[in-house]
Amino acid sequence: MTALGLQSLQVEGPRRPFALEICENVTTMTYHLAYLDPGTGSFLLQVAAGGLFGGLYVIKRFWRQAKGAIINKASAR
């Protein structure tokens, strides 16, 4: 991991089943004092599905960085 420069990817990923996330977050969500009405459903979806999207994002970044590192190594040879 370190050799590939992936320290920055030590971030939170999916932790609970998706259905459970939804149930939990319906009752425990942070509201922001936005001037736009962000919509309750939209807020809930972000919090509930954020873990999934975050996890995919981490995997995607890891894959890109790993691919880049392999290509760099190969071209250095």
Binding site: Y31, S42, F43, V47, F53, G54
Partner: protein, 462 residues
């Protein structure tokens, strides 16, 4: 006392507002936004996105506040020549506007800020590229906060783009009747079932619509505890971006996109027409040109290639798409293709009918080109010549217009399957009707055809 004219669209955000004073466009920043405005500069975000051409630049000026009760500072943004709206954009314009918004949001998060809105109306096209015009769209990012503008980003960008790509490109017109973007339940109902097979669309549109419906009447403010981490937020934005990148629409098979291949103009007549139009442009040296019925912008470029800010309007989404792609390929800075149905031009919409301007309110242009247009309006659209002249009088200080007589085969084509109920469609009637609103300065026959080109000046006081 200087008269202050507050813009009709600038009332939602308590951070400030845009107004005109003595014709100059200014923005008041309110005390409530002072801290976020400071962060915008100190974090380096302002400089970063202005240098990337993603945000319109401004200067701080020492000027009286428009509203001293709330005001803190006045800034003068660089002004744009023409304001366009998402329902006037082709597919790729809306897509580029969406990707620019998401790129700005990623930059903002990188600098510890976040977009507090993601309105397509905050994006304008400047020198061929989308740019954010609302300097007050940023707020300090607080770790754990979901994105307040997520719903707006889905309604203003993802939903219309998905409908255009997967159902019908003309569905962008739903933005006209839904000023805050296409409701997700409507988008979900209109999209093909197969769209559910794409994970990002399933989540951001279909499930999002269900969640909105389920929680639409909740009024209780839930207690705080669970938060949305920064990586999760970046994951949502990345997913939106990737969903939008994958959407595509190819311009083919619509009304006018192959017009020039299909016309009966000889090469010599086309060359002659180009010469006449070029001559009219040079003779009038306009500061702005609107080309009505521009197709893919063949004649618009006679003006824009001279460095004149030019808008190329057409009714055909494929023609506008092709034109915009050419603008991007050639890196053209002075041409803006837009979608307009001249028989039903964009109206004034929104609160008090003053948020989004009608087409005539955004004029007049110094020079309007109306080439091979009048016969379509008069014969296909049944619009009397006098009505066309009156409408163009609202749009143009000067008018370069082509009259296509009935013996032209293009007019013949329009009359093939319908009764000729246009006895007044003659050159004499054309000159008489237009003569009421314009002074005819020049008249040139297009050699090799029966068409006539006119250069006219608007009569004032009509």
């Amino acid at each position: 006392m200087n008269a202050i004219d507050r813009l009709g669209a600038s009332y939602r955000d308590p951070s400030g507002f845009v107004f005109r004073r003595d014709g100059e466009l200014l923005r008041q920043i309110n005390h409530s936004y002072r801290s976020d405005y400071g962060t915008l500069a100190e974090s380096g975000l302002y400089r970063s996105i202005v240098e990337a051409g993603q945000l319109i630049e401004h200067e701080e000026i020492d000027a009286p506040l428009a509203d001293p009760q709330t005001g803190w500072k006045i800034i003068r943004p660089r002004t744009l020549g023409f304001i366009s709206y998402p329902y006037e954009w082709c597919f790729s314009q809306l897509k580029d506007a969406a990707l620019t918004t998401l790129a700005i949001q990623k930059q903002a998060l990188h600098h510890g800020m976040s977009l507090k809105d993601a309105s397509a109306y905050n994006i304008q096209f400047d020198q061929g590229r989308p740019v954010l015009i609302d300097t007050l769209s940023f707020e300090r990012y607080e770790d754990g906060q979901p994105w307040a503008a997520y719903r707006q980003a889905c309604q203003h960008f993802l939903a219309p783009l998905t409908l255009m790509a997967l159902r019908d490109v003309r569905l962008n017109q739903l933005l006209l009747t839904n000023i805050d973007g296409i409701p997700l339940d409507l988008a979900s109902a209109l999209l093909p079932r197969s769209s559910r097979l794409r994970f990002s669309l399933l989540m951001h549109i279909h499930l999002h619509a269900k969640m909105q419906r389920k929680h639409s009447v909740e009024s209780q403010k839930p207690a705080t505890s669970r938060k949305l981490g920064r990586t999760r937020l970046l994951g949502i934005i990345d997913s939106l971006e990737s969903a939008i990148r994958k959407l595509d629409w190819q311009p083919r098979g619509t009304e006018w996109s192959d017009y020039y291949q299909d016309t009966n103009y000889s090469d010599a007549a086309m060359d002659r027409k180009r010469q006449i139009v070029s001559h009219f442009i040079d003779a009038t040296a306009p500061a702005s040109v609107w080309d009505l019925g521009a197709n893919t912008g063949e004649f618009s470029r006679l003006a824009s290639d001279r460095g004149i800010p030019t808008i190329a309007f057409d009714i055909d989404p494929a023609a506008v798409e092709k034109n915009y792609r050419r603008v991007k390929e050639r890196g053209e800075k002075h041409l803006l293709p837009l979608l307009i149905d001249l028989t039903n031009p964009s109206p004034a919409i929104g609160w008090n009918n003053a948020e989004r301007m009608s087409l005539p309110e955004r004029g007049p242009a110094d020079l309007v080109l109306a080439l091979a247009l009048v016969h379509h309006l008069a014969i296909s659209g049944n619009v009397p010549l006098g009505h066309i002249a009156r409408f163009l009088h609202r749009l143009a200080r000067r008018l370069a217009i082509e009259f296509v007589p009935k013996n032209d085969s293009q007019v013949g084509r329009l009359l093939v399957v319908r009764k000729d109920i246009f006895p007044d469609y003659t050159q004499e009637a054309f000159e008489a009707e237009f003569g009421r609103y314009f002074v005819i300065r020049r008249q040139e026959n297009v050699a090799g055809s029966s068409r006539i080109m006119y250069l006219m000046d608007r009569r004032e006081g009509q």
